[in-house]
Symmetry: D2
C-alpha cells in the first residue's frame, strides 16, 4: 500500500435517496448517477478522493450478499479512510456488517431528501462524513441529522424520520 493511497479517501456509493432523480415520464423516482463528484466540486475540495460505485439500490432492497460486498470493498481498500453513501432505512444494518473494518475509519451517510432538491441534507451530511474519516479514531460512524453517531449507538426512528441515539 502506497503512502498516497493511505492518505486519500475512498468514497463508495451504494444508492439510496441521496441519489434519487425524478422521472416525469414515469411519475416516479429512480436512483441516478452519484452526486458525490458534483458535491465535492461545489465544496472546492482539494482532497485526494477515489469514488467507486458499488451498486444503485434502495437500502430496503439490499441483501446479505450486498452487505457482504460492501464490507469486502472496505476491507480491500488501500485507503484507511472510507466514506459510504447509503439509503437510510438499513444504514445501521450495513454498518453492523462492516465489523471493525480492518482498523479503518468509516463513515456512512445518506440523505432524507434527494441531493438534487434545492433543500437537501445531502451536502451537509457528506461534509460531516468526509471530516469524520479525517479526524475520528478508527471505527464505524453514521453522519446524519447534524450528528456523528457511533454506528452501534444509533437507530433510524421512522416516526420522526430522523436518526436518534439509542
Amino acid at each position: 500500500m502506497s503512502a498516497d493511497a493511505a492518505d486519500g479517501i475512498l468514497i463508495l456509493t451504494t444508492g439510496g435517496t441521496i441519489d434519487k432523480l425524478y422521472f416525469d415520464a414515469l411519475s416516479e423516482y429512480r436512483i441516478g448517477d452519484s452526486v458525490v463528484d458534483r458535491l465535492l466540486r461545489t465544496a472546492r475540495s482539494t482532497l485526494p478522493v477515489r469514488v467507486e460505485e458499488l451498486m444503485r439500490k434502495d437500502s430496503l432492497d439490499l441483501t446479505d450478499d450486498d452487505r457482504a460486498a460492501i464490507a469486502a470493498a472496505v476491507r480491500a481498500a488501500p485507503e484507511r479512510r472510507v466514506v459510504i453513501t447509503h439509503g437510510t432505512d438499513t444504514m445501521t444494518d450495513t454498518a453492523a456488517a462492516l465489523g471493525d473494518s480492518g482498523g479503518r475509519t468509516v463513515a456512512l451517510l445518506g440523505a432524507l431528501a434527494p441531493a438534487r432538491f434545492a433543500e437537501s441534507d445531502a451536502t451537509f451530511n457528506l461534509g460531516m462524513a468526509v471530516a469524520t474519516v479525517q479526524v475520528a479514531a478508527p471505527g464505524v460512524y453514521i453522519a446524519m441529522n447534524g450528528t456523528v453517531f457511533a454506528a452501534d449507538r444509533v437507530r433510524k426512528d421512522r416516526s420522526v424520520n430522523a436518526f436518534v441515539a439509542r
Copy 2:
C-alpha cells in the same frame, strides 16, 4: 457548567464571505444575517446548538481587539465544542489567537463563495466543522476545501484561492 451545555455545540459567527448578501441598489455586497440557522435547518440537524453573533466583519478588517474578543468568547463558553464562522483571509490568524482554547475542540470555517449562491462551499464546510468538534481531539482546526487542517499547519494561498497545508 451543566452537563447539557457541555454536550451542546456553540457556533460563533463573525462575518466573512459566507454571510455576504448582494445589494443591487448599491451594486455591492454586504455581510447579512448569519446563514447558520438556515443551513442547520436544511441539514435537519437535531443537535443541541447555540448560535451567537459576535460581529459582522470582513476578516481583513478584524483588529487585535476583535480577535481577543473571539478568543474570550470561546473561553467563556460552557460548551466544550465550538464552531466559528469567519472570513477566509485572516482565519489562520484568529485560529492562532485562540491559543489552546482551554482544552476545547474548536473548528473554524468560512466560504469562498457566499452561502446564498446556488453553488457555495458553505454548507459542506459547516458540515465538516460540526463533525470535527464532535469527534476530533481537543485543539483548533480549520475546515476548508474538503479538508480538516490542524490550525497551525495550513495557510490560505491567494494565488489559487484555496487553503493548503504548510
Copy 3:
C-alpha cells in the same frame, strides 16, 4: 366586476409534478403545498395576484368532473387573466375543456421536474405564463419548453418528454 379584479391575475393550482415533494419515510413523492407563492416572492413580483388551490392531483388522475370544475373556476373568475398550474400528461385535454374561457387570456404551465429540485423548469415556465396572460390576445396557451404554444397546436411527446408543436 371591479377594475382592480380585472387588472389582477388569478392563479389556479391543480397539482402535478411542479408541486411534488419527496417523502423518504415512504420512498415516494406526493403533491405538496403549491410552490407558486414562493416562486413569485423569489421573483420579487409586485403584481396583484390571487392564488387559489383547486385540487392536488396527478394530471393522469383528473376526471371529466375535475376538468369541468377547472373550467367553471376560470369562467367564474372576475380576473380577465388566468394562470393554471397543472400536471403535464393531460394538460392539453384540460386546455381543450376550457373552450374560449369567456374571452379571457389563460396560460397553463407545469414542470417536468419538481419545483423543489435545484434544477427545475418550474420557475421559467411560471414566468412565461405570467407574462403571456399580460400581453397575449385572449385565448388559451400552454407555456412549456421555452415556448408559448396556442393550446390547440401542441401535444406532449412522451418519447422525448417535451411539448412539441402539432
Copy 4:
C-alpha cells in the same frame, strides 16, 4: 432573411447584476459569463435561440455609444424577436434608445439579485421576456418584478429597489 431566422429568438447580453459573480480573492462582484445558456437548459427550452454577448457592463457604466451599439445590433438582427439582458439602473434609457426597433418585438430584463444566487429573480424574468417576444405585439417591453411593462411607461424606483409603472 430566412424563415428560420425570422422564427427564432435573438438574446443579446450586455452585463448587469444578472451575470454577477463573486470573487473571494478580491472580495467583490464582477460580471461573469452570461447565465442565459444555463437558464435555458434548466428550462428545457427547445426554442431556436441565438445568444450573442455584446458587452459586460454595469448599466451605470453604459455610454451613449454603447446604447447605439445595442440598438444597431437589434436592427441588424434577422430575428423579429429580441431579448436583451441588461443592468437595471439604466434599462429604461436603453429601451428608449431602441426607438421602434424596426418593427421587432423586444423585451429587456435584468435581475435584482445575481442569477448565481439560490434566490434570484433572473430565471423568472428571463421566462417572462422569452414569452413576451413570442406573443406580444411589436414594441419594446421591460420584464421585471412579475410584470411586463411597456418600456415607456415604467421607471426603476431605487427607494424600493423595484420597477414601477409611471
